[in-house]
Amino acid sequence: MRIPWIAAACLAALPATVALADDDCHAPRVAWQPREAALQAASRLGWRVEEIEADDGCWEIEGRDAEGRRIKAKLDPATLRVVKLRHRDGDDDRRREDVRAPAAPLAAPPANPLFQNGKPPVVQVN
């Protein structure tokens, strides 16, 4: 469930107008600050960076915070603001659950034999 750096770089190279709608950061390519700037921002926060890559339109960092806890964070690539931070040590793991209701299905599901009369399924998450 990770994308390689080269794929992320290709995504970053696309015009901002075709950026994926569900990306977590949305800075245009020209606004990205370099990896070194992101590393410096992490250092100012007291983090020890073990891995950095572009993911979901953000700089994604894995490493340790000032207290030595494992972290996974995303920085806005333009502002270097922390947009997501998770601590990942054992029971202290702050898991991110996607508890949104499922996206409303479109009017017509795929034309396959599973969907009688073209009716979309009714879906809910409890």
Binding site: D22, A103, L114, Q116, P121, V123, V125
Partner: protein, 156 residues
Amino acid sequence: MKSAIAAFALTSALVAPGLAAARPVTFTTTLNNYGGDGAYLALYLTDASGGYAGTLWLAGGKSKYYDSLAGWYRATGGDPAQIDGITGASVGAGRTLEITLDLADALFDAGYVLHVDAAVEDMRDSPDDVAVPLTTQGAGKTTQGRRYVASLKYDM
């Protein structure tokens, strides 16, 4: 022979959907408290010969991760046309996904199998976390999954 009859019935259902016998079926998938991010799930059917028959639902919003649903991805090549209008958010650990749709009677007792592939960020992928044959006798019975799926059942 049985699959040929089912294929004929399904073809008929497509040609004359008003005449096809179908019933509402609810698929209930409950996840374990695995301690990770929301799970990407693909619920899809294969026919008696193991061929891909269609997708019921794909939970998870980022298509770049769909190849982690290895069985579904192998069957479809990740073709977005297979999931137009039938995708939603990933499903959190410990939560339950319920899908209700009208399914043709011809899909039951004809060798069709419901597969659930599951994947979670930074955790192991689980193709065919659970797979159950679609039979009238199997309705209402709970099947345990291998990794992320605690249980799967269908009611009609």
